[in-house]
Each structure stands twice: as structure tokens, then as C-alpha cells.
């Protein structure tokens, strides 16, 4: 008697579980679609343009104790050349004897050409409202906007660049911190997400291309334009890693790895993100 009663009960549970699974999958895809619609609706009026305009003004204005403008700053294609420069960064700069990404190079120009101290140049790396605006974010918005549509072409011909790429790759898969996380824990498989936010699979070419070519981006939830340095910094925070120092070799190595993995795609930033 007891045996007979159990069967229908088990069947009911199975049906219920099946129903929940379908419902969950449906809710997830429709939320993803809705976020995509939301992004498309915002695309037209991307406030990143406000940062681009401010950055363009900052680029030509004399700065620092030596009153030198960024028009003397060499981003790799010659002093003051911005068009297409971001699509080839990071790169090795012989004058600094270092591989640099865009933000680090801007700081280098502020220190070595304009005469600012390292502390002053890196005081406001990430902005916070109108009280604490970041010139670096505005300059990055302007410079990257001048590469929109340019094919990503980060060269690994230079041995310094190859070393940085190899280091970045190693870091990407290196597990550590209190949660035993690696970048690849979240970005190494398809279909991973944080809450409703889909995470790109950066081990695949399409994933790396789509992610890298849409930074910097205006983050609607923060009302700020954020650079790739910020993105990495926040990934480290989310992993409970020690704070990623702005412009450190660690940050540049990861940037070099991801930028080179995006080669071949058209750069499409500054974008807009939730």
C-alpha cells in the first residue's frame, strides 16, 4: 500500500521541477532580450559624446607646469596623432622602455612632457560626479572615439609585447584570492552571468572582440564614462583580489592579452552599457 502511494507523488515532483526549469530558462532569455533592447534604445543618445567633447578640448589645451598640450604626446603613430591610435594599443614605447596602454601613456605624457608629478597625474583616474571629474576618462573617450571603425591591430612583433601578452594570458587563468577565482572562472565559458548581466566568454575570439571593442563605455547605472583600466580594476574587486594599481604592469599585461585577442574586429567604442 505504502509503495503504491509513493509513485504518483514522485511523478508530481518531476513535473513540477520540469515546469520550473522551463520557466527559469524563459525568464533568463527574455531578460537578456530586454537588456539588448534597452541598449539599442540608448545607443542614439550616448552621453559618452559629452566626455568625447571635453576630451577633445583637453587634448589641445596646454597643461601642467610646462604648459605643454597633448598634441606633443605620441600614442605610437607620431606626436599628436590620434586617428586610429587606440586600435594599435597597447604597444612598446622605446622612449619609456615599457609596454603601455592608452591610459598609462596619457599619464606618461603628463609626467614627462607636461611636468606634472606622478601623484598629480593619477589623482583622478576614475571620476565621480561633477565634483571629481577625471581628465583621463575624458581624454580616453576622445582618443578612442577617433578609432571608431578602425580594425583592431595590436602587434605582437616586439618581444616586450610578446612577454606582456604571455603574462596577461597566465594571469587570466591564474586562480587566487579568498574565493580562489581566476578571470577565466567567469569569462571562460559560454552563458555565464552575474545576476542578469551576461558575461562574455573571453577565451573565444568573438567574445573577446565584442567585449574589448566596446570599452571605454558610458555606464548608465553610474552616470560615468569608464575606461578599460576601470573595468579591470572592478573585475579585481569582484574577485576579491588585491587592488589593481592604475597603470601597473599587471593591468597592462591583461589589457595587452585581451586587446590582441580582439585583433581583426572593428573598434566600436566608446559604447554605452547598462
Amino acid at each position: 500500500m505504502e509503495r503504491r502511494n509513493r509513485r504518483p507523488f514522485a511523478a508530481v515532483i518531476a513535473v513540477a521541477a520540469f515546469g520550473v526549469a522551463i520557466g527559469g530558462a524563459f525568464a533568463q532569455t527574455s531578460a537578456v532580450d530586454e537588456i539588448a533592447k534597452y541598449r539599442a534604445a540608448l545607443q542614439d543618445g550616448n552621453p559618452a559624446e559629452l566626455w568625447e567633447a571635453r576630451g577633445e578640448e583637453l587634448w589641445t589645451k596646454p597643461h601642467g607646469p610646462r604648459q605643454v598640450a597633448f598634441t606633443r604626446c605620441d600614442l605610437g603613430l607620431g606626436p599628436g596623432v590620434v586617428k586610429g591610435a587606440y586600435a594599435q594599443l597597447p604597444r612598446y614605447f622605446p622612449d619609456a622602455n615599457r609596454v603601455m596602454d592608452l591610459e598609462t601613456r596619457l599619464v606618461w605624457c603628463m609626467v614627462n612632457q607636461q611636468g606634472l608629478s606622478q601623484a598629480d597625474a593619477t589623482k583622478n583616474t576614475f571620476g565621480n560626479g561633477s565634483q571629481q571629474r577625471s581628465d583621463i576618462e575624458a581624454l580616453a573617450a576622445y582618443v578612442t572615439s577617433q578609432s571608431r571603425g578602425t580594425t583592431m591591430n595590436v602587434s605582437l612583433d616586439d618581444p616586450h609585447m610578446r612577454d606582456m601578452y604571455a603574462l596577461g594570458e597566465k594571469m587570466f587563468f591564474y586562480r587566487g584570492g579568498t574565493h580562489d577565482f581566476a578571470c577565466s572562472t567567469c569569462h571562460g565559458d559560454d552563458g555565464k552571468r552575474i545576476r542578469l548581466q551576461d558575461l562574455p566568454n573571453l577565451t573565444k575570439t568573438e567574445g573577446a572582440q565584442k567585449a574589448y571593442t566596446t570599452w571605454p563605455a558610458y555606464r548608465v547605472s553610474q552616470g560615468e564614462l569608464r575606461t578599460f583600466q576601470w573595468r579591470l580594476n572592478d573585475c579585481f574587486r569582484q574577485q576579491r583580489f588585491p587592488e589593481l594599481e592604475f597603470g601597473s604592469d599587471a593591468s597592462i599585461a591583461l589589457t595587452a592579452y585581451l586587446a590582441a585577442r580582439a585583433n581583426g574586429a572593428a573598434y566600436d567604442g566608446p559604447a554605452i552599457k547598462r
Binding site: D44, G45, P47, L50, A53, S130, G223
Partner: protein, 103 residues
């Protein structure tokens, strides 16, 4: 002084489409800072758009409009080269006016 707006105005058929990005904090007055003190409300209250000195849009805004607002609208008429002028006034009585020629 407030930062400039970004304005685009294009003739589409028999009307003109205007798209504006404004630079503004748009504080609601509901938020608190790290110390727990309320951040005072600070938002755009009035927006006026004129086409060759004729008002084509007048709006009263409140604190529910997002930071760095984007405004898009159409009005009948308008020809290439005509001037479209946009003015906003916020609750601090700060104001900004920008002008663009219709493309």
C-alpha cells in the same frame, strides 16, 4: 558654468528632428552621501527650444529625469541653415544656451 550641450538637427521630410544631449547631474534630492547626509536636489526645471525665435518646445522637468539627459523630438517645418536654439534653467537658476544650424 555648465558644460555645453551636444545638439543635432536634421531635416527629415517636412519636419526637423532634433536630438540633444545635456550635461547635468540631475540630483533627485533623495540620495545620501557616504556620511549619510542628503545630497540636495539639483535638476533642470525648464527647457525651451526655439526655431528662428519661435518657440517649438517648452517643457517643465522634475527630478525623475536621468543624469545627462537625452531629448529627441520633431517639429513641423525648418530648413537647412535655420537656427535651433536650446535653453535650460535648473533649480539653482543656473542656465545654459546652445545653438545649432539645421543640417
Amino acid at each position: 558654468m555648465a558644460d555645453p550641450m551636444k545638439i543635432r538637427a536634421n531635416v527629415i521630410g517636412d519636419s526637423t528632428e532634433v536630438k540633444v544631449l545635456m550635461n547635468h547631474e540631475m540630483e533627485t534630492g533623495q540620495r545620501k552621501d557616504a556620511q549619510g547626509t542628503t545630497i540636495p536636489a539639483w535638476f533642470i526645471q525648464n527647457v525651451k527650444v526655439t526655431h528662428n525665435d519661435k518657440v517649438v518646445l517648452a517643457a517643465q522637468w522634475g527630478p525623475a529625469v536621468a543624469k545627462n539627459p537625452f531629448l529627441s523630438f520633431k517639429f513641423k517645418g525648418g530648413a537647412k541653415g535655420d537656427k535651433v536654439k536650446i535653453t535650460w534653467v535648473d533649480n539653482h537658476n543656473d542656465t545654459r544656451t546652445d545653438e545649432v544650424a539645421i543640417a
